[in-house]
């Protein structure tokens, strides 16, 4: 349509070119807009698109009168609609395009028969072109979809075989071990708990490999103490930090504190790690009977010294709070 208008204007047969340009600009913008939005594959054509299409087309039908030319510049518009309809396969689009083509022909009847014939052949060729364009786009899209689905299917199959392998290796083995010694309650609990933890880690942990860092190290430490002493140690981690000399000292001190809690209380402990880029804090809370500072049992006191020494050596601070009857909390803090 743009090309035809251009031709007509340069040939000088257009008396008032400005409406033509306006119309071309509007139609081009509209075409671009609708194609862009429709490419997102919504299931039904929004009503505003239909109305916009109809409005623009009606204007196009009368454009040649305003511009004062007899050229069939308005034949192009239905073709654009047909092309859009072909690409997006909306039934309404097809209907509208057909209606527009028919209307154009009817308009032409006012002119003469030769014009009708040439108009008809133009319209038919437009439909054919649009049909081919639409079909080609569809084929390309379908091929791309297929390739994507094949890839996804392959990834899924691989993951499934990994799951199967892991299950076979560790879980089934653990179950076999448990069946062998069903009467040793402690051992069964330990085996079950360690396998549970491992499976949970594997299922819900980061799927692109383990992240080496303080967060993982703390969780691992908690799991190890849990298994060794058979008390529940729960680890909660917020943020992460690299494992360097400072944080390694924190980890070691933390481990001492957790082991200490496990040995002396039997009720388990809660470990909480909070790491930012400037500061790392580790809290170890147990629910033992607690102690008041005056009557500290000997080795708990000793432990405190050892923990404090480790932490202070790397520039951090350690604090132990204890409330009789409510347990003890060790707070370790190191700067990064």
């Amino acid at each position: 349509m743009a090309l035809l208008s251009l031709l007509a204007v340069t040939r000088g047969t257009v008396e008032r070119p400005r409406p033509v340009w306006l119309l071309v600009a509007a139609a081009t913008l509209w075409g671009v807009l609708t194609v862009l939005t429709q490419l997102r594959q919504r299931p039904d054509e929004p009503w505003w698109v239909t109305i916009g299409d109809a409005a623009l087309a009606s204007v196009a039908l009368f454009a040649h009168e305003w511009a004062g030319t007899d050229d069939l510049i308005y034949g192009g518009y239905p073709a654009i609609t047909v092309a859009v309809a072909a690409v997006t396969e909306r039934r309404r689009g097809w209907l509208l395009a057909t209606a527009l083509a028919v209307t154009t022909l009817v308009r032409l009847q006012v002119a003469d028969f030769a014009a009708v014939l040439s108009g008809l052949s133009q319209v038919i060729s437009y439909f054919m072109v649009a049909g081919i364009v639409g079909w080609a786009a569809h084929v390309i899209y379908a091929a791309d979809q297929e390739r994507r689905e094949a890839e996804a299917g392959r990834a899924r199959a691989e993951e499934r075989s990994q799951v199967a392998a892991h299950l076979h290796d560790s879980v089934l083995q653990t179950l076999a071990l448990i069946q062998r010694e069903p009467h040793d309650g402690d051992r069964v609990t330990m085996l079950a708990r360690s396998q549970e933890r491992e499976l949970r880690e594997w299922l819900y942990g980061p799927s692109d490999g383990p992240q080496p860092g303080l967060a993982e190290a703390v969780k691992k430490m908690a799991a190890e103490v849990d298994e060794m002493y058979r008390v529940p140690i729960e680890a909660v981690v917020v943020g992460d930090a690299p494992v360097n000399e400072t944080t390694a000292a924190l980890l070691a001190a933390g481990r001492e504190a957790v082991v200490n809690a496990a040995k002396h209380t039997g009720g388990g402990a809660s470990v909480y790690l909070e790491a930012t880029s400037e500061l790392v804090r580790l809290f170890v809370r147990d629910r033992g009977s607690g102690f008041s500072v005056d009557q500290v049992p000997e080795d708990r006191h000793g432990i405190r010294q050892s923990i404090r020494a480790r932490i202070e050596r790397v520039g951090g601070s350690a604090r132990v709070d204890s409330i009789p009857g409510q347990g003890t909390e060790v707070r370790l803090e190191v700067p990064l």
């Binding site: 949970r200 819900y204 980061p206 909660v236 917020v238 943020g239 809660s270 909480y272 629910r287």
Partner: protein
């Protein structure tokens, strides 16, 4: 108190039935999504114990299904996993709290009562997750109080993550237990309502949603 149990493990449901104190009556059980929704709407329990991993769509479908017509029913999510993605989905769907199945009977009873009173139940793991999620939002992109935890809320959550009970938190921070509960409820509401791009992006990065 009327309790309803939704879980696909028969043995677990039996265990719950026998583990609850006498003043908590199990008024119904279900093991699948649609029967659960129908029975809950019919029996109208105070609290529903809901396993998040149900065949046929999971716990959040039950919550959404029931809340459409009866938004006052309270859900306490139970799960074998302690994974953040289960927690996110279920809490945002409307659960008032989340406990793992390894929790002791006493803790379960306590959690049920809390939820029945309209409070939220946070496990240390969930508290840690919330702290992590809300701390990742850069300060210059916060335009609603939903996107931010107040200093107090942060403190309360941190103590929960450290393993403190509400009573102990109250003692530490010199506030009443009721105040602790209201802070926790406020955090729950923020978690449910905050649609911050950062929160979503954080979750997507960790492949949680």
């Amino acid at each position: 108190m009327r309790v309803f149990v939704v879980d696909d493990h028969d043995l677990f449901r039996v265990g719950i039935r026998h583990g609850l104190p006498p003043d908590m009556e199990v008024v119904g059980e279900a093991s699948e999504v649609n029967p659960a929704i129908e029975l809950i709407k019919d029996r109208q329990p105070d609290v529903v114990l809901l396993d998040v991993h149900l065949p046929g769509g999971g716990g959040r479908q039950v919550i959404e299904g029931v809340h459409k017509s009866q938004p006052e029913v309270k859900f306490l999510a139970l799960s074998a996993s302690d994974a953040p993605e289960d927690v996110v989905a279920v809490v945002r769907a409307g659960a008032r709290g989340y406990v793992t199945k390894t929790v002791s009977p006493g803790e379960l009873e306590d959690a049920i009562r809390r939820v029945a009173e309209g409070d939220a139940v946070f496990s240390p793991r969930l508290a840690g997750f919330v702290l992590d999620a809300f701390s990742s939002i850069p300060t210059n992109q916060i335009d609603s109080e939903l996107d931010l935890l107040s200093e107090r809320e942060r403190e309360v959550l941190q103590h929960i993550a450290r393993g403190y009970t509400y009573r102990e938190i109250g003692e530490q921070l010199f506030i009443s237990v009721k105040t602790v509960e209201s802070h926790v409820s406020a955090v729950l509401r923020k978690l449910q309502l905050s649609n911050r791009n950062e929160l979503t992006r954080w979750a997507v990065e960790r492949k949680l949603i």
